[in-house]
């Protein structure tokens, strides 16, 4: 469910007037499946783009940790139409010669073997401003007419952070999210290679954070413990994807599911839903904070005061004055103030009674007149 949710969010893209949805994928040495998850989303989103099912019409891949030919081979193996790739993918090659060493030596990189339509080399990745310009200009290559959006994928934020300061990397990502030509953006990082503040900064800028965590946690985290070798072995092929997404209204949704690395990439092996997480989050106290199933059912059957309007009875809206027809419909109050409940139908009803006749209806005077506004 979490994987599907992310794929849908990337496919649907940005709403008008909102920042592009952003996904952080992070992993740890104990569960190093993050790059496989990154390539899963990359290939899945590429399939949507090439089939015209996504808001974005193209993908700009910023390749720091692998060569452009690696990604084209990978997409080809996953069944994507590489022959027509120049229509939907551009690769900014920050891998082959990131610091211009080869350029100084007069050597040309492997990217030159690829068509210039698809890959272009960035010879100085330390210049974040030019990196931004290159990404945008590559994305504009997809624009045929009108307003077309494109997606940006960054395969290693760790490498970016090695070449540039956290503030400039954060500035680049923030600028990309603000850009109204970008439909969605996702990036990958090894969380244990970043300082904590860098991870937090990236997560603040993300609308979704997918964290790959080990299924089996060890207290010392050492692989040298030979007794645990078989258990540790499982962490290289299986893991738990923990997704935290922030909605526009500020609500945070948490999902997780178990993933497995197979021959063809990442597969989902079991799914757990949000509700399970929420139950786990309820503190253990002596009194009940949760409703039982029967209580939930009864609550659903309660007819709220506004819901029984319009069923033939006169509409009653309490306007602060005693209605002339009150006496006609008033049921004799019982001492504890609770009305009769139609037990046969199993439905509840809420009827309001004033405490007594002594209580005067509201007058015309302003109830807030004592406020010093």
């Amino acid at each position: 469910m979490a994987m599907e949710w992310i794929c849908r969010a990337l496919r649907d893209g940005a709403l008008e007037g909102e920042h592009a949805p952003a996904l952080t994928i992070k992993d740890f040495m104990a569960s190093p499946l993050g790059f496989d998850v990154f390539t899963h989303f990359l290939s899945h989103h590429s399939t949507n783009i090439s089939a015209g099912k996504s808001q974005s019409r193209g993908l700009v891949l910023v390749a720091f940790s692998r060569s452009p030919s690696f990604y084209l081979d990978l997409l080809s193996k996953r069944g994507l139409p590489i022959a027509s790739s120049h229509h939907w993918i551009r690769i900014l090659d920050c891998y082959t010669d990131p610091l211009g060493w080869k350029d100084q030596m007069g050597q040309c990189g492997s990217a030159t073997k690829l068509s210039y339509d698809i890959a272009s080399i960035c010879g100085n990745v330390k210049d974040v401003d030019s990196l931004f310009s290159l990404i945008i200009s590559l994305g504009r290559g997809f624009v045929v007419q009108g307003k077309v959006r494109f997606c940006v994928a960054i395969d290693s934020v760790n490498e970016m952070l090695r070449y540039a300061s956290l503030s400039s990397v954060a500035g680049l990502i923030s600028s990309l999210r603000c850009c109204d030509q970008i439909s969605s953006i996702f990036w990958f990082c090894h969380a244990d290679l970043c300082e904590e503040r860098a991870t937090s900064t990236l997560e603040y800028m993300s609308s979704m954070v997918a964290s790959i965590e080990p299924l089996i946690q060890f207290a010392n985290g050492q692989i040298s413990n030979s007794e645990n070798l078989s258990l540790l072995d499982q962490n290289f092929t299986r893991g738990k994807l923990h997704l935290r997404c922030k909605r526009r209204n500020g609500r945070v949704r948490v999902m997780f599911e178990e993933i497995h690395l197979g021959q063809s990439g990442i597969n989902v092996t079991s799914t757990s839903f949000e509700g399970v997480i929420n139950q786990g989050l309820v503190p253990k106290v002596q009194f009940s904070l949760q409703l039982s199933e029967k209580e939930l059912k009864d609550r659903a059957n309660v007819v709220l005061p506004f819901e029984h309007q319009g069923n033939g009875k006169p509409v009653q809206i309490y306007d602060g004055r005693k209605s002339l027809t009150d006496s006609k419909y008033e049921v004799a109050p019982i001492p504890n103030g609770i009305s009769d409940i139609d037990k046969e139908s199993g439905k509840g009803e809420i009827i309001y009674f004033r405490d007594s006749e002594d209580e005067m209806p509201d007058s015309d005077e302003d109830p807030d007149d004592d406020l010093d506004i």
Partner: protein
């Protein structure tokens, strides 16, 4: 023969083409013998007679490796004359007169240029059979005046040789010198870079006369055909004068 193949089985491949292999050791247990084993294997396998090793030595002079490999039955000097073994003596070339000729990059940019030039000059059939070996990365960091970033830049450029020519990269580093450091440490960055990690450690139960230590091999090979097996193995070893015995824990009395 059987014991020797235990390490090769753990590596799970006939040759290391396109892989990054990291050797990690500590003060108590050196992994230099694994480096020597890989060096001999790269040069001696008849199936891969076009293999070329580019050896970047920060730790020992040529004569040291020559003597050890001779005991293992491999003549480095002869391979050097045949241009199958290219030796960069970083101790001699870069360190005699302090900082002379090193510049701000510790000579790593020019070292990369030399490696690239060496590989580019090879005949086409040899280019994808090149193994670049670095002994060791901690001393490379010293040469780069402690600049971890510069070492990582160099390793990144060596990694590009893999995608460009299909080379393999073998590097040795010492795990314990990074203990107690705040993250991110160079050793962790290297572990992420590696496809295969070999750790040499002392026995958890203490010293023993018949067992010199244990090796843990983590094979994160991306080759789908080998993904399911030899993922992670652990076995003991005993270093002898002319060879090394590998055996599973408990198989020796």
């Amino acid at each position: 023969m059987e014991t020797r193949s235990l390490l090769d089985e753990a590596l799970g491949l006939q040759h290391l083409t396109g892989r990054v292999l990291l050797l990690e050791d500590c003060v108590e247990t050196s992994a230099a013998f694994v480096l020597h084993h890989l060096l001999k294997r790269s040069l001696s396998q008849p199936l891969h007679s076009s293999n070329v090793v580019v050896f970047v030595a920060f730790a020992q002079p040529f004569s040291h490796y020559d003597r050890i490999l001779r005991k293992l039955g491999c003549n480095l000097a002869a391979h050097r004359n045949d241009n199958k073994f290219v030796f960069f003596d970083m101790l001699r070339d870069f360190c005699p007169d302090g900082d002379n000729g090193k510049g701000n990059d510790g000579g790593l940019v020019s070292l990369y240029g030399k490696i690239l030039k060496t590989i580019s000059a090879l005949p086409q059939e040899n280019k994808n059979c090149v193994t670049v070996m670095i002994d060791d990365v901690s001393l490379m960091e010293v040469s780069a005046k402690g600049s971890t970033n510069l070492v990582l830049d160099f390793l990144h450029y060596c990694h590009t040789l893999i995608s460009e020519f299909g080379c393999s990269l073998v590097m040795l580093n010492h795990e314990d010198i990074y203990s107690g450091m705040g993250r991110p440490t160079l050793i962790l960055q290297m572990e992420y870079l590696a496809d295969i990690l070999i750790k040499a450690e002392p026995l958890a139960t203490g010293l023993a006369s018949d067992v010199h230590g244990q090796l843990t091999v983590v094979n994160r090979s991306i080759d789908d055909g080998e993904r399911s097996r030899n993922k992670l193995c652990n076995f003991h070893f005993k270093v002898k004068e002319n060879n090394v015995e590998y055996f599973y824990p408990g198989s020796r009395t």
